[in-house]
């Protein structure tokens, strides 16, 4: 039996004005994501995957339709409310890591706790544990520019999970890494997400994750289509 859906996307449309023509990215898109599950979204470059993640996180707003998280509609909320919601409930992992260059490894990881005023000793301990888990013990004081791509992504994973969000959005987290490193990162993400019972939505080209995900979607012509594994491959 399934838990109620954590995330519902209802009739989402999104288009951009480019020069003098309108480019529709998402067209009346419908989807639901169950809590505690992992979903992989695949699709060609430019099919709107990053846009979709931005809409889910509230960074961007749809032209029409509704994003509902835990039964609450994010659409129509003020930007401020959406931001606060994101701060608390969403963790973000980017293809290009996007660590804050002026913060050390530890500071980057503590940052979401600070944002959520959760810098309590147990949480700090949890953060240290996370650093251990992502294999960066001893590198706490390093700045991001001293880390390899894989290490940076580990920091990003820790940062995305440190405040125990219910929804983790990952945008091609292994896209910028070699296969071996990519696999390690993927294992780490899956392991930690499972540990936290969080929902993971990952935009990816990785076959491995596509195989391991609970659900597989294809973003094609503005629609999200539940895909059979075979089909995706």
């Amino acid at each position: 039996m399934d838990l109620p859906p954590l995330l519902e996307l209802r009739n989402i449309s999104k288009s951009y004005q480019e020069a003098d023509r309108k480019v529709a990215i998402l067209d009346n898109l419908q989807a639901t994501f169950a809590a505690g599950k992992m979903a992989a979204i695949i699709g060609r470059s430019g099919s709107g995957k990053t846009t979709l993640l931005n809409l889910i996180s509230g960074i961007d707003e749809p032209c029409s339709g509704e994003v509902r998280v835990k039964g609450v509609s994010l659409t129509g909320q003020t930007e401020e409310k959406r931001t606060l919601f994101r701060r608390r409930h969403i963790g973000f992992i980017f293809q290009f890591f996007n660590l804050i260059p002026t913060l050390t490894v530890e500071e980057n990881i503590l940052f979401p706790l600070e944002l959520n005023q959760m810098l309590s000793p147990p949480n700090r301990a949890w953060a240290s544990q996370l650093i251990q888990q992502v294999g960066l013990a001893g590198r706490e004081e390093s700045f991001p520019d001293r880390l390899s791509g894989g290490e940076q992504q580990r920091v990003a994973i820790a940062r995305a999970l440190v405040h125990r969000p219910q929804l983790i959005l990952a945008d091609e987290p292994t896209g910028n890494l070699d296969q071996e490193t990519g696999r390690e990162i993927l294992n780490l993400m899956i392991g930690l997400t499972t540990q936290l019972c969080a929902t993971l939505i990952m935009v990816t080209h990785s076959l491995e994750f596509a195989e391991r995900a609970d659900h597989l979607f294809t973003l094609r012509q503005g629609q999200l289509v539940q895909a059979v594994r075979q089909e995706a491959l």
């Binding site: 931005n54 996180s57 960074i59 961007d60 930007e79 401020e80 931001t83 606060l84 994101r86 701060r87 608390r88 969403i90 973000f92 980017f94 293809q95 290009f96 996007n98 660590l99 804050i100 260059p101 002026t102 913060l103 500071e107 940052f111 979401p112 600070e114 944002l115 959520n116 005023q117 390093s142 700045f143 991001p144 520019d145 001293r146 940062r159």
Partner: protein, 846 residues
Amino acid sequence: MTPFSLLTKASSRYYFHTPWLTALALFSIALGVAVVTAVDLANQGAMDSLHKTTSALDGGATHQLIGPPGGMPEQHYPTLTQTPAVDHAIPVVEGMAYSPLFPQHPFILRGVDLLSEATLRPHLGETLHPDRLLTLLTEPNTAYLLADTAQQLGLQVGDRFPLVANGQAHQVTLAALLAPKNPLIREGMASFLIVDIATAQELLGMVGRLSRIDLILTAPDLPTPPPGTRLLKAENQQESLIAMTRSFRLNLTALSLLALLVGMFIIFNTITFSVVRRRRLIGLLRAQGVTRRALFILLLKEALLLAIPGTAIGLLLGIVLGHGMVELVTRTINDLYFHLPSTPLHPDPTSLLKGAALGIGATLVATLPPAWEATTISPATALTRSSQESHLRPQKGNRTLWIGFTLLALGGGLLLLPDQSLAYGFAALALLIVGSAFLAPRGTLLLMSLLKRPMSHFFGLSGRVAVGGVVRNLSRTGVAVAALSVAVATALGMGLMIHSFRSTVEVWLEQTLSSDIYISLSGTLSTSGNPMLKPQTIETLKTIPGVHQVGFGRKMVLETELGRLKLLILEISKARFNHYLFQSGDPETLWPLFQNGQAILISESLAFHKGLKVGDTINLPTPGGSRPFTLGGILYDYRANAGLIIMNRALFQHHWHDNGVANMGITVSEDYPVDQVVEALKQAVATQSQGENLVIRSNQKLRQASLDIFDRTFAITRLLRLLGVVVAFFGVLTALMAIQMERFREMAVFRALGLTRKELGRVVVLETGLLGLAAGLFAIPLGWLQGQLLIHVINYRSFGWTLLVEPDPFLLSQSLLIAIPTALIAGLFPAYQMANTSPAEALREA
């Protein structure tokens, strides 16, 4: 299209993509250049005016024979024309005059012998109608004016107007208008009222006497100048006037260079920033095979592209500013040194070239460190994001600290040198400023560690993030804090100096002006033709009820072996004498010596400039030849920088055989109100008037008038200070905006991680506010130091004035009042812009 032009494009497009920053950088360069250029132009303009006035009417002469105060016997002139060494001689009778109709336009009444002038300079300009010429020669009280001046005053040929000269009212007829073709000469003549030499003698009360004789000598010298006269080489004469104002002008130039120094900090900051921001691009270029050398040149070329339009705008701005400033400079010279007519400004090409060279040079110099830094970027590190911060903090901080302390020590050492030169003073000032600037980054760190807790307490998350931002962006924030504190400190230091100076003058006036009422002849500046109070007038005024005690004074200009000095002749009571502020000499023991004519007093500035001390003797030209006088005391005096000698009236009379006095100081009996006595005196003068124009002022009014003059004198310094603040403001705006714009992506990540717009805006504003606070705090000691240097070193070495009043320490808080609001304003724009940009957009550009 060559690859090189593509390279240029690749890097320079940056400036088009950040138009705001580019514009502000341009503006910083422009402002720095503008201030320097304007001051240089104004100085140049004032000196031009000096050249013009002296050469418009004195040009061609090799020497000048200067008469004693009141003039030399006119018989010297025919004697000189018969002297073999004299090729040409031109007699001049000159004095000041004014018309009650045009109180704002005092005239230099110049009596010329058209005939001897014509022989010297026959074929220049156009002709004068003979009827007009004859009028001037044959009719008394006829005068010429420059056509422009006449138009300005609304006078036409044939008009009669009142003229006060030698304290007497006359009616003068305008006989002709002069319109020389040469515009420089036109300007030089603007304040001249030209009359025949006979008319000048009659109007100025100098019948039988000449002010001076301009000479063309065939020999290098006159064997024996007539007694009581001094022979000056024409160029020396002008040279000495120019030298007199040299310190003053150097002072202005140095203050303007201070503005440029601030400008350089801003440029340095801009370029550093542009390099830091393009590390990735630079790395890419290096990876593509662009050599270090090519990269270095590329960055210098870019700086040049920024410098050229910036400098051009600066020059234009400088010309505009200079127009206003020349008036102020001229006025100051007028008040401090000698009469100088104000003339409109002609942008001197050398000044403009200097400004251009400085602007471009300063930009390039400020570019060198960041450009060098850029070439050390290896392609690999550049390709990763942010590679600056991790190697920025510890050792580098120590190195800057050492450099800073070394510079400070050097500056301090310079001050201790026995050589009291002004140049060393300014060099020391510059070293102290730059040295302190090096300390700014470390100081910022220290301050932030102190503020971490309170900021977190008061502003929560935003406060913590802001403090962290300042610390972590030290590579950029350090420079910005340094630039801002230097700018604010400069403004502060100058403010302290002005304040101390004005308070000193106030105290001094209080002491020196100890009579209750002062009476003087109006419209009379002390040149050679010195108008005197009539003895019967003095007698009348003495008898007015309420007049208790009377003192007398007279001022004149003396050409001495020490240059042109002001001579003040006094007959005063012991009580008033005791009121004077003595730098050396004890009034009790000095009084009898002064009274008996055994000692004279000199001003501190004269003693300083000429290295004189109590007990020295100086030779002064008297009608009976050069005579030695003993210096009994040195007085604090702030009325003239040209140097002042004070002499007892009896002593003067003994040597000069001249009993005249030009002003009176009256002590009022205790039971009479001062205002009532002033009224009584005015009425007595009105009924008894013999054509004399007397100004009767209470102590209060005279003090106010003197302070007004002081304020006028310092208007230029105030303006420079204001400009310093403006430069600082825009510099900080640029620096802080640059810092924030550079963190655009970082801020977008913050937003993605869940920082709200409001919080982000607050972070930005708090950060710049913290920078402002840091700069404002550092500016306090630095400004105090600058103020002390300006007061005790620069000012003293420039003018020889000791300032007796220390500035009000409360003024120091001004630095925070300047720095913090500036910084907050600087934060508003980036805060607004960042808060209103979708993080999606910012994150896109990976």
